[in-house]
Symmetry: C2
Subunit: 331 residues, 2 copies
Amino acid sequence: MSSWNGNHQRIYMNEVGPRDGLQAEAAFVPTAEKISLVNALSRTGLNKIEVTAFVSAQAIPALRDAEIVMREIERAPGVKYAALVPNARGAERAIDGHADELNLVMSASESHNLSNLRMTREQSYRSLQQVSRLADAVKIPVNISLSCAFGCPMEGDVSEETVLEWSSRFIEETGAHGVTLCDTTGMAYPGQVARLTELFARRWPGIELTLHFHNTRGMGLANVLAAIDSGASRFDASVGGIGGCPYAPGASGNVCSEEIVHALELMGYDTGVNLEALTLASTRLPSLLGHDIPSQIVKAGRRLDLHPAPPDLPAIRERAVNRERLPETRR
Amino acid sequence: MSSWNGNHQRIYMNEVGPRDGLQAEAAFVPTAEKISLVNALSRTGLNKIEVTAFVSAQAIPALRDAEIVMREIERAPGVKYAALVPNARGAERAIDGHADELNLVMSASESHNLSNLRMTREQSYRSLQQVSRLADAVKIPVNISLSCAFGCPMEGDVSEETVLEWSSRFIEETGAHGVTLCDTTGMAYPGQVARLTELFARRWPGIELTLHFHNTRGMGLANVLAAIDSGASRFDASVGGIGGCPYAPGASGNVCSEEIVHALELMGYDTGVNLEALTLASTRLPSLLGHDIPSQIVKAGRRLDLHPAPPDLPAIRERAVNRERLPETRR
């Protein structure tokens, strides 16, 4: 199987922590800290960073400083700075803020779309078509994130046909540049991911396909590997593993950026990311957020971050060897 | 890639929670509770259960009741009841207790063996040869668990040659029935697992090969899938994900039995395990142990354990649809 050995294949990491992670925080993260986090992430070699969301300050007060953050970050060459946009008003703000890409969201599940966005999927689609036209007019690429592409926590399975049909409308009618298939509540499993990724990649080889997984049931990395094996090379992940979904009790966060990079680099994939710099950025999160973070790399270190042997190891060895030199007795 | 679709391949689950998990607990788990846990696990369809360890009560007081537990459990037909045995004295006790299999442990790393067992690897090997002879005399199969087979937290990489050489001595000189390659501190990664598993499985197709992974750096399930893809079908796992290693700070527990079964069954593998019964056994652990457990399945439920839609969903839909019926205005 090829995907156990990356053989230098390029994998593109899209960091969603500053938006998807911070929007879930109960306490407001100071604007200067947000900027500083994005700046630290900018210097790690990530391909894209979803910086913030241009949503109403009433709906998501945690990101009420979207304009300032977007304006004040230092943009590193080669990094794309995206913003989530729910509607035309948000698109205008993101365009004013010189976002490199607009990320539009709707759900493949009717119940989830109604719960989360208070619209039917048809209404969301028409609204996002409007948004796309605004972006097209100023030549900013649009990505569509389809929530619940691997299952809905209220409805259960979401069919491949449904996911491909909504993808098709955005790609073929609306001209989207990229599609993200989102496992919003951690229902995706590797067999399913492999099938859907292959169907998508075969049908639209020219479209940027991104996969967005949660580690809710411990399948995050396995899903990433199944997707790579089936033709994907772009992944959303969140520094520290921060973030979650308010509509799915128990659903833990996004897959953790440094865990995915750590595993993929060991396997010989080329993520372009400096793992040490990324982990350093993550290490600051617990004190910034006031709580522990899921990152196993922050907790346990990288694979070859070694621990000192016990100081008495030479003495242990000597005693063990000396026992050998004694005449054989029943030990 | 075949391993994303299990196609009914049989996978054998070896439950190590009662030994590997409970031995790490600070507070003594009452004997009756241990017996009750093993009895609950016995009814889930697991292939093998490592019930306890016949070690000195001074060394591991948590398992000082090994004799009683081994004697009092109700043995289910078809389930193998194994015991960990460090030396000849332990083997005699396990044989008296009618263990179905003796699990012997040494480390592939000299530093880890000295730290953990206070012997050189050569000394451990000769001691375990003695133990094997005792087991052979009463026709009880012996399994060798090689710790640090994927890396040592003190030495770093452990070469494939080293692991295969110790495996060879146990298999070809000592006549071991099975070998477990243990990722004692979560250093294994999928590419490495695929290579070592393939080398082992090709060289010794008749030997029962088991893989023992920790989820320390989030790679547990991916390692299981890499091993399956390379010829393995037997895995250690721990109910609730309990257990760890005292010689590796930050090293979190064994891969979680119900997480592995949940993922493998979704993918179409046949583990023989009733996931609901296994999860029920795990659900009792937090109150039994007095602390939270790593299991994501206990926290988040299975993939299709759905959540109710918001009670006002019909009203949300009605309002959304009614907005449609109004004359088009700028919304």
